[in-house]
């Protein structure tokens, strides 16, 4: 039977360091998706994710609800992505869509599919970081506004506004593509 998050956390805190590997495997891919979409390229995403996992290990004793380790780790990752995004802006880099992430999609109509994916990635990349974060948390990670508020420290009203604006912006950007 698969160990629960709480069991694994307890084992790690008692010095069974390899138990942490099970937590890494459990959350690696799911949270990689958020990081890739948030940061726009696999290299930055992996760096942010790795940093989130190592930070979580260093302060594991502060995880107040070990049965919700995943949610706690995700909060660390969201903060880490914010820092990484801010640093990228300071470096003057532009958002680059991720070819690697796109390769995992289905191959039904490869050319059209790839074009559509690229347009979506590009449109998501053109959102402001705040809007992108709110949109991904709401629609891709499927979180409620209360959970989003807990993770981001932003009020529910402000988050709703960001999501609404993100949706409007995405529709506008993709309508332009359709009509072009």
């Amino acid at each position: 039977m698969e160990s629960s998050d709480a069991d694994l956390v307890t084992r790690v805190l008692h010095g069974e360091v390899n138990a942490y590997g099970a937590l890494v495997s459990r959350y690696r891919d799911r949270y990689a998706r958020y990081a890739v979409h948030m940061l726009g390229n696999r290299e930055d995403a992996e760096e942010a994710l790795q940093d989130a996992f190592t930070r979580a290990y260093r302060s594991l004793a502060r995880c107040e609800e070990p049965e919700r380790f995943g949610a706690w780790l995700f909060r660390i990752l969201v903060n880490r992505c914010r820092t990484s995004g801010a640093r990228r802006v300071r470096r003057g880099q532009t958002f680059v869509h991720d070819e690697g992430a796109l390769m995992n999609a289905s191959q039904e109509h490869p050319a059209e599919q790839t074009m559509w994916r690229e347009e979506i990635e590009r449109a998501v990349g053109e959102l402001s970081p705040d809007q992108r974060e709110a949109f991904l948390l709401k629609y891709v990670e499927d979180l409620g506004y209360d959970e989003m508020s807990e993770i981001t420290g932003v009020g529910v009203s402000a988050l709703k506004m960001r999501v609404m604006r993100a949706c409007d912006r995405l529709r506008t950007l993709l309508r332009e593509v359709h009509s072009a």
């Binding site: 008692h14 390899n18 690696r28 290990y57 260093r58 004793a61 995992n104 449109a123 891709v140």
Partner: protein, 182 residues
């Protein structure tokens, strides 16, 4: 909301929800960092306690108490490095025992200084959001002790050296209590 717009949003979300696979070498890279951190903490003799210390900084009333626990453990390290003879003088020194056990329902300390908990002499730790702690006077000298979690699970202190011969087949740790210099 117009139908075209709604379906566009759904298509975007469907696309963004596709799984992103990370190379399995990622796990190895993370675990290299984790093991390094673990080894560094073990060398400093504070594995399992450092995290709790930073956690307590959010609760000022407990910061001093936990800091005292770390000092006590540090003092043990000094005693070992000097290779002081194990003497059992008559004096007692206050020792704080700290165990991070977020899911535990109860934690008690048993050792040769309290007859291994016989006759209800186990030291009952208090829970502070997963950090269990109890302070008690312990005679100076070398002692063996362990934590009893949930009244049945006997665990050695992850932040202290293991006893060479585990007592009664149970894991136990070594505690060196020095006489205060004050």
């Amino acid at each position: 909301m117009p139908e075209w717009q709604r379906s566009t949003l759904e298509l975007i979300v469907e696309e963004l929800r596709r799984p992103v696979k990370i190379d399995e070498s990622f796990d190895r890279r993370v675990m290299v960092h984790v093991r390094r951190t673990y080894a560094r903490r073990r060398r400093r003799g504070i594995a399992g306690v450092l995290g709790a210390a930073s956690r307590i900084t959010h609760h000022p009333a407990w910061a001093a108490a936990l800091a005292a626990g770390i000092v006590a453990i540090a003092a043990m390290g000094v005693a070992r490095s000097r290779q002081r003879p194990a003497t059992a003088a008559g004096s007692h020194e206050p020792v704080q025992f700290v165990l991070v056990a977020p899911t535990a329902r109860s934690v008690a300390v048993v050792g040769d200084f309290n007859d291994w908990g016989l006759n209800d002499s186990a030291l009952i730790a208090t829970n502070h959001e997963g950090v269990w702690s109890v302070t008690a006077p312990v005679p100076t000298g070398v002692h063996r002790y362990a934590y009893v979690v949930n009244g049945k699970d006997w665990v050695a202190d992850p932040s202290a050296p293991r006893s060479a011969g585990d007592d009664f087949g149970m894991p136990s740790s070594v505690l060196v209590v020095e006489e205060s210099t004050k």
